[in-house]
């Protein structure tokens, strides 16, 4: 018995691993381990060093991703690690976005931690861990691997959300997020199990073959449909689609502001990319079953997100609802992509990914300004706190105005390029009604951004509380605004890249 076991293990051959192709994950992993190890083994470093390490890690991973992208050229996509991970432009683009987001958020976090007097390596370690989870999610080619990534990401987020020891809301938000997130993970996992039951595999490509009827496996229709539904619920929770969005405002408001920025960027990119990949690769034969669900979710998300955003009085809650509304826009892209067979359907994926990149930068920039205004204690996030910002810090207010106008989709900003891309994708597959609905929701949402601008420019300061902009957060905001304007005026830079995005 024992001998047989040993014999069996000794003949076990691990999959061939192309180390360089997973180097972005390895870089992030190395950075995360380094920060956590160093943090526990060395005396406290000077302020800012941990953030620097985090930024360097993220940039290294981003550069490696870029190198891989160039190497890939026009090659067809492949899989890595025995089919567990996909290696394609889609995954690389999402990975790049995540790395950029982590680098920017690290700059914001440095300012936040310094201000709150708690500069430690754990936060950065967790952020990098979240990024690893995100990268695994966007490249997962197997539902179980996807789940691993999802949990890595989510667990890091729960901890990060609850990481502020001085604010009780932070702990409350962390707990809420944890419990509801646990529910969602359970739904997701149940969905995976049912799909496995229906197809006998968790690999996305094999699954697609089974469902398309190419492989003679008795596939069970009931299990399949229930599996799709549960999977969609899990995803819908993670990307906060209406009606699975109720946790978002509470968690966004309660979490430390830089962490909110991280959730709005990395969390959205990872979950959306995974959602798009799973549905487009594993379930294309069932499009007629899931497209109506996407359509309804998109409409609900757009309208409810925008309308509820307008009536908030706390800026972090406003932006939480606005992020929901943006999620609706991205879903419109997925809806367009789902018209498989249409010559222009490919525009859906690339526009959704372009939107995610642009939105990530925007949301980090916006929350960076919110973090600055929130000040010591991270509490001044009501609309009133923004009053008179234009008089106190005109340059900061101008930067925020650019970011808000971009979120509203005003031309010559990246936000317009993003929206235009989505509308273009929707119109090209003749989803006119959805396109109009999305644009009208954007108009409702514009009111919210106008409210913040009114507070900043057209009201007198409520108090003399100084607004301090440190170097690192100033750099983050400058980079975000510059990206917003450059992409807005010269969209070719991004379009040429996102044109190439495919599975």
């Amino acid at each position: 018995m024992m001998n047989r076991l040993i014999a069996a293990t000794s003949t076990f051959e691990g999959p061939a691993i192309q180390w360089f192709k997973i180097s972005p994950i390895l870089a992030l992993l190395g950075g995360a381990l380094f920060l956590i190890l160093v943090g526990s083994l060395t005396p406290q470093w000077k302020r800012g060093w941990y953030a620097t390490a985090s930024v360097i890690t993220a940039i290294t991973a981003a550069v490696l991703t870029g190198v891989l992208w160039n190497q890939m050229g026009d090659d067809k996509s492949s899989t890595l690690v025995g089919g567990a991970l996909a290696f394609d432009h889609f995954a690389l683009f999402a990975t790049f976005t995540i790395c950029v987001a982590v680098a920017l958020v690290s700059l914001v976090t440095n300012d936040y931690l310094t201000r709150e007097g708690e500069d430690g390596p754990e936060i950065y370690g967790l952020m990098l861990t979240a990024a690893i989870g995100g990268v695994v999610m966007v490249s997962a080619n197997d539902l179980l691997v996807l789940f691993l990534g999802l949990e890595t990401l989510s667990l890091s987020f729960y901890l990060l959300t609850a990481s502020s020891r001085s604010r009780t809301q932070s702990g409350e938000a962390g707990l809420k997020y944890f419990i509801l997130g646990g529910f969602a993970s359970a739904f997701f996992l149940y969905g995976v199990a049912l799909l496995f039951g229906a197809s006998g595999t968790t690999n996305l490509q094999s699954m697609a073959k089974v469902f398309a009827g190419e492989v003679a496996v008795p596939s069970n229709n009931g299990l399949l449909l229930a599996g799709i539904a549960l999977l969609l619920v899990g995803f819908a929770f993670k990307v906060s689609l209406v009606p699975f969005h109720v946790w978002t405002p509470d968690v966004y408001q309660g979490a430390p502001t830089p962490i909110t920025a991280l959730m709005g960027s990395v969390g959205k990119v990872a979950a959306f990319a995974a959602l798009i990949r799973v549905f487009m690769i594993a379930l294309p034969s069932r499009i007629d079953d899931w497209r109506p669900a996407i359509l309804v979710l998109a409409l609900l998300t757009l309208v409810v997100g925008s309308v509820l955003a307008v009536i908030q009085t706390d800026v972090k809650r406003m932006l939480a609802y606005s992020s929901i509304s943006h999620a609706g826009f991205i879903l419109v892209g997925l809806e367009a992509a789902s018209h498989i067979g249409h010559a222009d359907a490919y525009l859906g994926n690339s526009s959704a990914m372009g939107y995610l990149f642009i939105y990530s930068v925007l949301v980090i920039g916006t929350f960076a300004v919110v973090s600055v205004v929130a000040g010591q204690g991270d509490n001044a996030t009501t609309l009133d706190a923004f009053k008179g910002l234009g008089k106190k810090r005109p340059v900061l207010a101008l930067g925020m105005t650019v970011l808000l106008l971009a979120q509203a989709g005003v031309p010559l900003t990246s936000g317009f390029v993003a929206k235009f891309g989505i509308i273009r994708a929707a119109v090209s597959v003749e989803s006119y009604a959805l396109a109009v609905a999305a644009m009208l929701a954007a108009v409702i949402a514009a009111f919210l951004y106008l409210r913040i601008m009114v507070s900043m420019w057209l009201s007198d300061p409520a108090d003399d509380a100084p607004v301090v902009v440190s170097k690192s957060i100033g750099l983050a905001i400058t980079l975000a605004v510059a990206t917003t304007l450059v992409i807005g005026i010269l969209p070719n830079l991004l379009l040429e890249i996102s044109q190439a995005i495919s599975f």
Partner: protein, 502 residues
């Protein structure tokens, strides 16, 4: 007639400069230090006057009798999407460009915003760049960019320098227009994609689409409607006009003058350039509805104006009526009517711009716009009253002044193709005389009350400013030929384009 073969390319990219100079001026103004107030003003002045001078130079160089687009400049911008920086000017846009170029320096020189000059001037210049771009764009995407970008400076101008309910008015203005644009954006993208079938490549080029694309009847109507909603909000056409009285009343004087002078014309201009030119069949089909809305606007605007207690609101409602005439002319679809409409765009810009200027001056002096609190001003400020009288008569459409020429051409030109609408619209002409003369009587005639006794006479600066407007009013009224000669060929070409599509 619009074919590209006729295009002339000038070595000096004057149209691009018309957009870039105010834009750079805005950037420069916002970079200068607030402490050097004179430098800020000088920068704003130089860039706006330079733009004005270039627009006049362009007018002089514009070949009379040419129907196609002149001074064209075309560069690829977003090649992935088939979008180019394509600017050009023809008889329809020519005078709007000149009006924009001349009006802005006048407003910048003549009207004092009272506080925070730097931001005010920066927004003004950005607004000028946006308006210029809207009138010059020959690319659907580019046009949309300018059309939308105009909202931002106008929003801040109303919100930052306006009166009591400025934030409400500014927000309403922004959201109304943006909601209209939402339809247009989808319309623009759909137009480009559907036109691709006929053209072969994806392009947003206006001329290319208009000349080569053939939309199915139903499709064309939907697309036309999508564009029209945006323009109808902008004009504004009844029943989408409700943002206008608020925006006008709350805007600072400079904002009102620009709003009435050129911003509203972006709607009527858009109807001609993008509605009728791109979708002639749909325009013919929608004619009865649009004519009816235009006539309702004329009557409703006039009746509402009669009822106003606030002088500025009265002028705002008179705009609704006047713009109705322009839309009437546009969709009557005869050369005369459209020429009259284009002319009326300019005339309304001059006379209503001047009216808002005068109302602003009254407010400066009396800090009220309520007609009931004014009265007898003619006795204490006769020159001021004289200016008001001339401008008002031009707005009524007195023969010999500019308003008459445009209105008359619209009515004459529309009579054949839209007889009954014209009959009703003519009542509007009478009503215009009623509300304006009645307002004049209440504000200027009678014995001045104690508050009005010290009403200061016009200052030299104000007088010079108004003289420019009055000169334009009288010159156009007496000798409209040079203007008509330049507008008409392009309008004729447009009509031929419409006829050919039947």
């Amino acid at each position: 007639m619009f074919a590209s073969a006729e295009m002339t390319t000038s070595s000096f990219p004057i149209l691009t400069m018309l957009v870039l100079v105010p834009l750079l001026g805005a950037v420069l103004v916002s970079l200068l230090n607030k402490k050097h107030g004179e430098w800020v003003k000088l920068a704003a002045l130089v860039s706006s006057i330079a733009t004005g001078a270039m627009s006049v130079w362009m007018l002089v160089k514009f070949p009379t009798g040419a129907a196609g687009f002149e001074f064209v400049s075309k560069h690829s911008w977003i090649s992935e999407w088939g979008i180019s920086w394509h600017l050009g000017v023809d008889g329809i846009s020519l005078f709007m460009v000149v009006l924009t170029g001349v009006l802005f320096p006048l407003v910048i020189v003549g009207i004092d915003p009272h506080h925070d000059h730097k931001s005010y001037l920066a927004w003004m210049l950005l607004l000028e760049a946006g308006v210029m771009g809207s009138f010059l764009s020959l690319d659907l995407f580019l046009f949309f960019v300018f059309f939308e970008i105009v909202l931002v400076p106008m929003y801040f101008l109303i919100g930052g320098w306006g009166y009591e309910k400025r934030v409400y008015a500014a927000t309403k203005f922004f959201l109304y227009t943006m909601a209209g644009s939402a339809f247009m954006l989808v319309g623009i993208v759909a137009t480009a994609f559907l036109a691709r079938r006929d053209i072969g490549v994806l392009t947003f080029d206006l001329v290319e689409i208009a000349e080569k694309a053939n939309f199915a009847t139903g499709t064309g109507r939907w697309l036309f409607a999508a564009f029209m909603i945006a323009f109808a909000v902008k004009v504004p056409l009844f029943p989408l006009h409700t943002w206008l009285p608020d925006a006008h009343t709350q805007a600072p004087t400079g904002g009102s003058v620009i709003l009435a002078g050129v911003l509203l014309k972006m709607g009527t201009y858009g109807m001609l350039r993008f509605g009728v030119y791109l979708f002639p069949q749909a325009a013919i089909w929608a004619k009865p509805v649009l004519l009816t809305l235009a006539v309702i606007g004329i009557l409703y605007g006039a009746i509402a104006a009669t009822m106003q207690k606030d002088l500025k609101r009265l002028v705002a409602y008179s705009s609704v009526a006047h713009l109705g005439f322009i839309v009437l002319g546009t969709f009557a679809m005869t050369t005369q009517a459209i020429t009259g409409g284009v002319m009326q765009m300019v005339n309304h810009g001059v006379s209503t711009g001047a009216l808002f200027l005068l109302v602003g001056m009254i407010y400066e002096r009396r800090h009220t716009r309520q007609i009931a609190e004014l009265g007898g001003i003619q006795a204490v400020a006769p020159i001021f009253a004289g200016f008001f009288m001339i401008v008002m008569l031009s707005s009524i459409g007195l023969p010999g002044l500019n308003g008459f020429v445009g209105e008359f051409l619209v009515l004459i030109g529309s009579f054949e193709t839209a007889r009954w609408w014209v009959v009703v619209a003519t009542i509007g002409v009478i009503l215009a005389a009623l509300y304006l003369l009645w307002a004049y009587q209440r504000v200027f005639h009678g014995e001045p009350s104690d508050d009005n006794k010290s009403f200061p006479e016009i200052t030299l600066r104000e007088g010079l400013l108004l003289s420019v407007f009055v000169a334009a009013i009288v010159f156009t009224g007496v000798y409209p030929k040079p203007m008509l000669d330049r507008i008409e060929p392009s309008v004729k070409a447009l009509i031929e384009h419409v006829e050919a599509s039947k």
